[in-house]
């Protein structure tokens, strides 16, 4: 802060003061404004996750073109789960599942990733608690205490998790991985914590069909809440009662 003193009375340059206050306000409000765009009361990256927020993703399959894999490549680039030419052991945090109705011939492509269930089977079965659900509903793996037993992979009905089968190179600092541990979509938690959209959602919005709507389901004014309230949506294997945070429209 710029200030000069004359005797015992500090004199502050008004222009400098206003500039500083303005900057402070921008710093304070900017993340909120960004998060407001996808409907959430944000929090700083250092703040703990809040249970007032329930992150959710709605995918409108009518806007998800066949053959488009922008969400997949964006996720791969963002999180660094490169392919090694061994499809059976290579990780896949998000994939496009091709569906065909045998009777009608109707065709759909469905992006499938960790569904961030409210009652996640992977968290229930994990012996060490390495699989856990954050207060805001994001399901993650603590790589420090994952022992690589793969019970979570047996339990997940969505085939959403991958096991790291070989040594890793070129990891992204914001998405740490570990040989011999299990991993899955994190909803790009590092981006969310700094008030940015998940990489797949951003790529879909910018270059794709805009099929993905991400936001806070607990906020009735968020786009995702409004869409879920307005349109018929469905959850994959809703019969299992795991209450996934990923919903689909026009499935």
């Amino acid at each position: 802060m710029s200030a000069e003193s004359y005797g015992s009375h500090p004199v502050v340059d008004r222009r400098v003061l206003l500039r500083g206050a303005g900057g402070f306000l921008v710093t304070l409000l900017a993340p909120g404004v960004t998060l407001y765009a996808f409907g959430a009361a944000g929090h700083a990256s250092e703040a703990p996750a809040s249970s007032k927020v329930r992150w959710a993703l709605l995918i409108d399959l009518s806007k998800c073109p066949a053959g488009c894999d922008l969400c997949v490549t964006a996720c791969r680039d963002e999180n660094g789960w490169q392919q090694n030419g061994r499809p059976e052991t290579d990780p896949q945090w998000i994939r496009k599942v091709k569906l065909r109705d045998g009777r009608t011939g109707e065709y759909r492509e469905v992006p499938v990733m960790c569904q961030h269930c409210d009652k996640p089977a992977c968290v229930d079965v994990c012996p060490t608690g390495a699989s856990f659900k954050r207060a805001d509903g994001i399901v993650l793996v603590d790589k420090h205490i994952c022992i690589g037993c793969r019970f979570c992979m047996m339990a997940c009905p969505y085939k959403a998790r991958s096991f790291v089968h070989q040594p890793l190179t070129d990891q992204k600092p914001w998405a740490p991985r570990g040989k011999g541990t299990v991993e899955a979509c994190t909803f790009c938690v590092h981006r969310l914590d700094s008030a940015r959209l998940p990489a797949c959602v951003e790529a879909c919005a910018v270059k794709g069909g805009g099929a993905m709507t991400f936001g806070d389901l607990n906020d009735p004014t968020s786009e995702v809440s409004k869409a879920v309230a307005k349109y018929a949506t469905s959850q994959v294997r809703a019969d299992l009662g795991l209450e996934p945070a990923v919903r689909y429209r026009n499935l």
Binding site: E88, V97, G102, D124, V125, R150, A155, P157, K179, R237
Partner: protein, 403 residues
Amino acid sequence: MTKLKFHRLEQHRPTLWVLVGLHVVVLALGFGAALYMEEHGHIVSGMNNQIVWGLPHVFAVLLILAASGALNLASISSVFNRLAYKPYARLSGIVAIALLVGGLAVLVLDLGRPERLVVAMTTYNFKSIFAWNIYLYSGFVLVVGAYLFSMMDRRASQSVVLGNTMAWVAFSWRLILTTGTGLIFGFLAAREAYDAAIMAPLFIAASFLYGLAFMVLVLVVMSRETGNELATEEIAGKFRGLLSIFALSVLYFTIVHHLTKFYTGGHQGVELFLLRDGGVYTLAFWGGQIVCGTLLPLGLLARARDSATVRWSLPLASVLFLIGGVAQIYVIIIGGQAYPLKLFPGMEVSSSFFDGVIASYQPSLPELVLGLSGISLAMLLTTLALRLMPFLPEMRTKRSDAA
């Protein structure tokens, strides 16, 4: 009244050293395989993101089941007060511990991060049946250890109350343990092949069969190596009857399991896969579990009416039951995973992540060796225990002075 005497494994044929040497080699190869997998990652195994549990888990589950079943001879003698089984109570206890340690070693060495065993022992999620099993397994070793102490310690063995209490605790513990092992699969609602409470009694019946089969083989080998016939004619006859009943029980639960799945709407696909269209899994089920592991040994035992035939039929049937056990668990664990998860029922699905297709699995040599090394570890631990402490019964009977 006859007085039981026990002795250590001191005098034996030189061929025992050959057996020990073979087990040491397999054990060393097993540890080498585990180190190899640890160094290079599971990429060197046949397991993948579709078949996440492979051959090591088959051997581990077989050994863990056999461990609780091996304790049966002690339980029959103490809990159900059948004196004919008394001479084998100590041996059954130590074999049970050894088999469990062998199975757990395989399970631990197959972990993605085996060096984090201490994490698994100290950080628990109590909602996980896996975490419960960690308690049940380590508790089993302690409980059976205490049970053995109550049988073997001079002063403790005088206390009928202590003996009976420990017998009941161990018996209850082994039932709960096997229930827990079965529920590892029974609780998997996502997988059509599992998701059934009957997995628990099925595993209990299987544990009776495999545990007794292992005990028969240990007794036969020790009889041959020590030159003393450990299994009397009477007990051999009882073993024949028990093995037959246990095998029929496993068959019964297997039939009920499959029929239930067939009856339940939407599960016919997985049943048709396992029982008709599953290739190696169908072959393992019908050829391995049913013909080789059930009907053939049952036929052998049924035809063995004189004591001489029983003598050679028992070990042969036991080996066949164990081969059938490997086949059964292979079909359950690997066949159950090979059938694809049904994310979108009623739709034809495909993806780059093998959705909608039967998963492929080629067991690798390191996996096989690691699995076999669990058996070798169990047998070496048993031999070491027999060498150190008096577990082997002296089958000569004499009048007790007190009688």
